[in-house]
Amino acid sequence: MKIPSMKNIRNFCIIAHIDHGKSTLADRLLDYTGSVTDREKQDQLLDNMDLERERGITIKSHAIQMDYEYEGEKYVLNLIDTPGHVDFSYEVSRSIAACEGALLIVDAAQSIQAQTISNLYLALENDLEIIPVLNKVDLPSANPEEVTDDIVDLLGCTPEEVIHASGKTGFGVDNVLAAIIKRIPAPKGDPTAPLQALIFDSVYNTFRGIETYFRVFNGEIKKGQHIKFVATNKDYYADEIGTLKLNQVAKQSVKAGDVGYLITGIKTAKEVKVGDTITDFAKPTTNIVEGFEDVKPMVFAGIYPVDTEDYEDLRASMEKLQLNDASLVFQPESSAALGFGFRCGFLGMLHMEIIQERLEREFDMTVITTVPNVSYHAYTNKNPDEAIIVNNPSDLPEPSTLNRVEEPYIKATIITKADFVGNVMSLCIEKRGNITNQTYLTTERVELTFEMPLAEIVFDFYDRLKTVSKGYASFDYHPIGMKPSKLVRLDILLNAQTVDALSALIHADNAQYIGRKMCEKLKELIPRQQFDIPVQAAIGAKIISRETIKALRKDVTAKCYGGDISRKRKLLEKQKKGKKRMRQVGNVEIPQQAFMAVLKLND
C-alpha cells in the first residue's frame, strides 16, 4: 500500500476516567478497522502488562496504528493510549502533545470525573480537537440526557456533537471513526525541514533493548540515520524504525505527521526521557519540542528483601525494572531492623504499589516496603539557607539543631456529588487542606479545589475519600511548591527497642493521634509471642502512647493422635514459612504488613 500523505493521517488519544470503558472502546476500534485478527483478539489489547489487565488500568502509554478507508480514501489512524492515573500525569501530557485530537470518553452512568477534567484541560491547552463520546449508553443505569448536558456545559459544544457509543456492543464505533477523520485536523509539518520528533514513551525489550516511541513533527526519520536526543545530548544510529501495528512493522522511513518506534541499541530507559526531542545529528533542528521536564519522584519509601540474603538479587531486579521504568529512582540504604535495602522514589502511591507488584511478579522478589514519605527540606540553625533534602525519617536533623522544615504542597481538585461536599471538605480540612475554590459544574456536581500538603495524600487519603463520598469522588493534583511545616519524627519502640523501619515523619499536630493509632494497629498485627511486648510511640525521648501485646499462654493443640499428626505437621510447617517472612528485631518477630501499618490506620 502506498503510504498516505500527511493529510490522511490522524493522531489522537483517549481521555477517560478509570472504568469508563477506554480500553474496551479501543478494542472495538481495532476490531472495526480490521487491525486485529480474530486469533489476536483479547480484552484490553493495548494493556499488555498482566497487571494492567487485572486492575483494568493503563500504566504505560501505548500506540497503535489502524488503517481505515472512509468515503473512498485511505487513512492512517494513530491511537496513543495513555495512563489514567494522576501518578503518571507527565506521561499523559506528553502523549497529548503528540496528538491533534482526543476522544473524551464519559461513562453515561457516572458522568465526568476529576481526572478526566484535568486531562481535558491539558488537551485544550495543547489545542487538541475534542470529540466527546458518551460510552456505555446500553447500561440500564445510563443517564444519557443529563450526562450529555454535563458534557455540553463543560466543552461548550452542541448536544449533537456528542457521539453515543457502547464499547461492549460496538454501537456507535462507525460514528466515532467518522468523527476522528472529519473533525480532527490532519497533522501539519514540513517533511523537508530538519528532523524534529517527540519521544512520548519507551518500552524495554529484553532482546532489542529500549524501544522508543515517537511522533514526527517535522522532517523524517530514516533507517540508519545518525540522530541525537536533545535533552540527554546523546547520539545514536537508527538501527530500526517502523510503525506500530499490533506488531511492529519495520520501515525505511517515518515521515512528518506520523507515529513510530525506534531501536538504537540503547539498553537503559534512563537514556530515553519522555518529552525529549529527537533530531538529526548533522543537521539539528533549532525547534525543540516544548514542555520537556525531568520527572521527579514525589514519594519515597524503603524497599528491603524479605530474606536479607536476597539483597544482591533485589538490586539486580531493581536495575532491570529501571531499564523500562525510568521514573523509578533508588539508592542503597540500611536499617537496623531490615538490613540492607534501597530508598526508592516513586511518582506516587500507585506507582509505588506497581513497582512492588512488578518486583514480585516479574522478578519473584518478595519485598518489605516501609512507610512512605514525601521529600522535605530541612534547614539547620548552623546553615539556615542551605536545604537538607530529607527523603528518609533518619535524615531529619536533631530537633535542637533544626531551624525550620518545609514540605511540598499540592493543588488538589476533587469532583464529587453535591451531597458529599460537607464530608469531603471536613476530610480535606482534617488533612490540613485549605479550600481555594468551589464550583458547581452542574447542580449535582461540584468541583472543590484545595491547597494541601502532599504528605497527607500518602496517609490513607484515597481510602478515606472513597468512604466519605461513598465512592462518588474523583481526585487529581499537581505540585505547587514548598511551604513551612511543623515536622516531627515519630519513633516506634518494640520491647523498648526503637525499630528504625517503623519511624515516620509526621506533622506535629497529628503525632499524638497517629502515635496512638500506630500502637493499636501494631498490637493487632504483631502476633503474640512467648513474652509480653510493650509497643510505644515516642517523639524524641518522650513516650506519647503505649500498648502491650500480651504473652502467648497456650500454643498447642490438645489432641495429637494418628489422624492428626500429618495435618498438624503441615500446619506448623506453614506457620514456620510464615515466620521466615517476618523480621526479627531483638526478640520480637514482626510481620511484613506491620511495616506499612501506618497506611492502614483506619481499616
Binding site: 498447642v556 499428626i565 514456620k576
Partner: protein, 393 residues
Amino acid sequence: MLFRIRCEFIYIKFLVIAGIYIHIPFCKQACHYCDFHFSTSLKKKDDLIQCLVKELRLRKNELGNEVIETIYFGGGTPSLLDRDELSLLIDAVYKFYIVSEHPEITLEANPDDLSVKQINELKTTQVNRLSIGIQSFFERDLKLMNRAHSQKEAKASLSLATQYFDNISLDLIYGIPGLSNEEWIENIEIALSYNVPHISCYALTVEPKTALESFIKKGIIDDVDDDLAQEQFYILVEKLEASGFVNYELSNFGIPKYISKNNSAYWLGKPYLGIGPSAHSFNGDQRSWNVSNNTKYIKSIQKNELPVEREVLTITDKFNEYVMTGLRTIWGVSLKGVELSFGNNYKKYLLQQSEIYIKQHLLYIEDDKLLTTKKGKFLSDGIASNLFKINLS
C-alpha cells in the same frame, strides 16, 4: 520416679510393635466441639461392620510380620457396638494378623452406654481396657458441649466400670467457657476418687466448622480463654502428679504401669493400621488415610478397593514429626536418636534452633534429650514449628 519412667519408656519401646485402630463412625448425637468423622444415622451400621472385617482382610499383609500389641476401638462411639459385633472384629484381627500374647484392647465408651448389662457383656469379650468419655461432672458443661450423658450417668458408669475393669482411662475437658478453677479442681478430685490408673485431659478446642465455633461467633457461648486454659492445665498437672500420675504426654496422665500403649505408639513413630472411614495408617515411611464418608467407604470396600490416599514422608517430614510429637512427651526428642536417624546436621540444626528457647526456659536438655519445661509444654506447637526444618521453595 525418674528411673521408673525410663523403665516404662524402654518397656514401651521394645514391646509395642504395631497397633490396629478401628474407627466406629457412629454417634447417638453430635457433641458441639467434635470435628471427628461420625454419623448419627445408624442405618448403615451392619454394612459398615462387614466392611471393617473385610478391610482387615484386604490389608492383612500391610504390616508384614509385625506383632500386633494393641487394638483400639475409637470413634465416633464404639460403645454402640454390642458384644457380637465387637467379637467379630476382634476375631478378624486374630485371624488375619499375628497378635501378641497379652494385647491391650481398648474400647472408647460413653457413660450412657455403660449399663450393668453391657458391662457384663463387655467382660465376656477380649476388651481389657475402657476409655470413658466423662468430659465433666457438671451438668452445665455437659449441656454446653451437647454430650449424650448426664452428670449422674458419668458417676454411675465409673462406679460400675471400676468393679469389672482395672485398666480404665477417663477423659476430661478443661477450659470450658464458664468452668471456674474451683469447679475444675472438683472435677479432678471426683475423677481421682474412682482410682482409675489413666486420665486424658483436653483443653477445649474450637475447631472450624463445628457447632461450638458457630455459637461462639454468634455470641451465644463465650470464647475459650487461653489464659484460663493455661491456669487449669497447671492445676491439673500439679493435682495429678501429686496423686502419682505421670504427665507422659501433654494431654495424657498415667500411673506408670498403665501408660497407654496405643497412644504412645503414635508419638514414638511406631507403625499402626487404621481401619474404617477416616482412619489413618502409618508404616514407618508412608502415611495413608481412608475416605471420611461412610457411604463411599462401604461402596469401595464392597468392590474390594481400599478407599485410601497416601503420602510418603521425606526425611525432613519425619524429623519434623518427631520433633513435634517428641516435645509433647516425657521422652522428649532424643538427640542421640536424631543423630542416628537423621544425621549430625539435623542434630546441629536442632540444637542451634533450640538455643533461644533454652535461654527463655521453655526447653531444657537432660540425659541427651530435648524436653519442654512446664511453661514450654503449653507452647510446644509454636516451639516445634520453629525447630522444624523447612525447604523454602
